[in-house]
Amino acid sequence: MRLVKNLFVGISAAALLTACGAGGNDQGTEYAPNMYHSVAYEPYSQIDDWEAGRWVTSIEYPKLDSVTEGHAEYYNSNNFNPHKMNMRDPAPNTVSRNKQGWLPYRLGKDSLAYAAATLKNPLDSTASVIADGKILYETYCDHCHGAKGNGDGKVAGGAEGEGIKVVVNGETKTRNTYNGIANLRSDALKGISEGHIFHVITQGKGLMWAHGSQISPEDRWKIAKYVKTLQK
């Protein structure tokens, strides 16, 4: 009988412990959870529940007013920001600088013609700039404009224009594509300047939305150089 009892205890302990592993929506048991929930702001870890982690709270966090208690251990948000975000926009009228000392690009979306005529690529056409441009083009443009710039990337439906097939509940459907993607080697675009390309990447044009937030100015100029070599 003792054996049975011991076995029972062991098995139930094991069963209890299986609840510690992670999987699906369950994050699993954290060891020293305070360390996974940063006191300082951490990127992409916002917890705006005031009471989260009250059970492990060991510090008295500053009170908002005399009535409510200070926040609990896991809380990691800024009550004074929009959406309680940790992150803020830079202060108005400040200028961010990059290592080349370039000022931010200020031409608006509708200044394409002016940009195309006046902007000059500050980079030289060296092999390494064009090689970098190729890698960047393949990262940011390829899935829409296609590897060769023919406007036949996967998002445009691919080279055959077939689109991607998917079976949903036994029914074959074709995934939607993004229409109107320009063929960069078409006659209309053969002659565009590098400034034109830079402006289109930064501010977008027509159906193409702005990609300026994703790509640094230097990288945009590299891409512009590479697009010109594609168009040859």
């Binding site: 992670a22 699993g28 020293a32 360390m35 300082a40 990262t139 993607i181 006659d187 209309a188």
Partner: protein
């Protein structure tokens, strides 16, 4: 306008050839002749759309290279369907000048162009100023030819045996085979049991001595076997060992989130985006080559495509609508964080992805096949250290920087010794903890 210029030409000609003025009537006849000829020839070359296969072929090439992304012949895409455009547009000349400069036509206040633009605002067609008149005529020839074509889909509408279908058929077959095998095995067991009992009965009818009887009717029954000490020991050992193993495993799983795959607020699928559509990881995770954090894409990056793609094949509009709503209301999307190191450790993406040249998949697993992101690796200190012990440094990327280090390394450990992350200090506590 045009007749003016022709008249000027004629005058010019008469200047060069003065004998014509002498005979006014002949000059007049000549004038009329030239005028009529010029008019006829210009209209015939401008208004008539060729049915010549060569022209159609040339037109197809131009159409596919320049117009396909926005126009279809029979359906509306970004721009109107081009079928019948030669009849509905004011004139062929109008079409030519429009294609060469749509913004100009719209700005000039042309009524037809402005009406058209009203329907397609704010999309404006690209200007194709480099196309020649004959190119445009060839495109129109192609459009006309295509217009007359019977749609292929209606002719052959066969249920394509897709890859998925045959696959499903394959697994069904496997199941059937498995069930068949089980049935056959069960039948075998039953027949064997029947055989044994009939054999026993047959032997019992014979005159057997004690020894032989003992063999036939063995004293080791199920009950005696179950209560033997050997059996109890084996069972107890197995249960205890298994229990011990689960306890140890689970103790080690505390603080390890491997396998964590939370439901996200929007059913975003890496399989569709990174897998099928082959969008590069860095298109969305833009910070990964620049600094510590890989970053999660902001809403405007999703909108680069979902401003137009409003419905998904699997989830309809329900999920994508959340993106467009978030964008319209300027609200962040609250993605659930999956990978998370404790505060005490420092991990930098650029250091690994750019300098180390490690692929995302080495640490994050086959993300491009995941419908829901799952934590693939342990993310424990042992995991980091293990890789730092095993991975060679690629010194070719930044030879200038590594040359001195390699020299010192060779002096200390011999020129053949491998140059691992460990050897540049990848195991120093302070590189990861400070």
């Amino acid at each position: 306008m045009s007749s003016d210029s022709r008249f000027a030409l004629l005058v010019l000609k008469t200047d060069i050839e003065p004998h014509m003025i002498k005979n006014f009537t002949s000059a007049c006849k000549f004038f009329i002749l030239v005028f009529v000829f010029a008019f006829v020839s210009s209209t015939s070359s401008a208004q008539e759309i060729s049915t010549d296969p060569a022209a159609i072929k040339a037109g197809e090439g131009i159409f596919n290279a320049n117009c396909k992304s926005c126009h279809k012949v029979k359906e509306k895409l970004v721009g109107p369907a081009l079928a019948g455009v030669d009849e509905r547009a004011p004139s062929i000349d109008w079409i030519k000048s429009f294609i060469k400069n749509p913004p100009g036509m719209i700005a000039s206040g042309d009524a037809y162009a402005n009406n058209l633009y009203k329907d397609y605002k704010p999309t404006m067609m690209t200007a194709f100023s480099s196309l020649k008149d004959e190119d445009i005529m060839n495109v129109l020839a192609y459009v006309k030819a295509k217009e007359a074509e019977v749609p292929k889909d209606d002719v052959i509408k066969d249920p394509v045996p897709g890859g998925e279908n045959t696959e499903a058929g394959g697994s069904d077959l496997l199941n059937l085979v498995a069930i068949g095998v089980v049935i056959v095995l069960l039948l075998l067991v039953v027949t064997l049991a029947l055989l044994i009992s009939s054999l026993k009965r047959f032997l019992d009818q014979k005159n057997l001595n004690e020894e032989e009887k003992e063999v036939v009717h063995s004293p080791i029954t199920l009950k005696s076997a179950l209560s033997s000490p050997a059996f109890i020991f084996i069972v107890a050992f197995l249960v205890a060992a298994l229990g011990f193993k689960t306890v140890i495993n689970n103790l080690f799983a505390i603080g390890v989130q491997q396998g964590y795959a939370p439901k996200q607020p929007i059913a975003f699928s890496h399989k569709i985006h990174a897998g099928d559509l082959e969008i590069d990881c860095k298109y969305c995770h833009v910070g990964v080559t620049k600094g510590k954090s890989a970053t999660i894409p902001s809403v405007n990056i999703c909108m680069n495509c979902h401003n137009q793609i409003k419905e998904g094949a699997q989830t309809g509009a329900s999920q994508i609508k959340q993106i467009t709503d978030a964008y319209a209301n300027n609200e962040p999307i609250k993605w659930v964080r999956i990978h998370n190191l404790p505060d005490l450790a420092y991990f930098n993406h650029a250091q690994h992805v750019v300098v180390g040249g490690v692929e995302c998949q080495t640490c994050h697993g086959p993300i491009q096949e995941m419908e829901v992101v799952k934590q693939h690796s342990l993310l424990t200190m042992g995991w980091c250290i293990d890789c730092h012990r095993k991975t060679d440094i690629d010194t070719t990327r930044n030879a200038e920087y590594y040359d001195k280090m390699l020299k010192i390394h060779a002096e200390k450990k011999g020129s053949k010794a491998p140059f691992k992350v460990e050897d540049i200090g990848g195991l120093e506590c302070s590189k990861c903890h400070y």
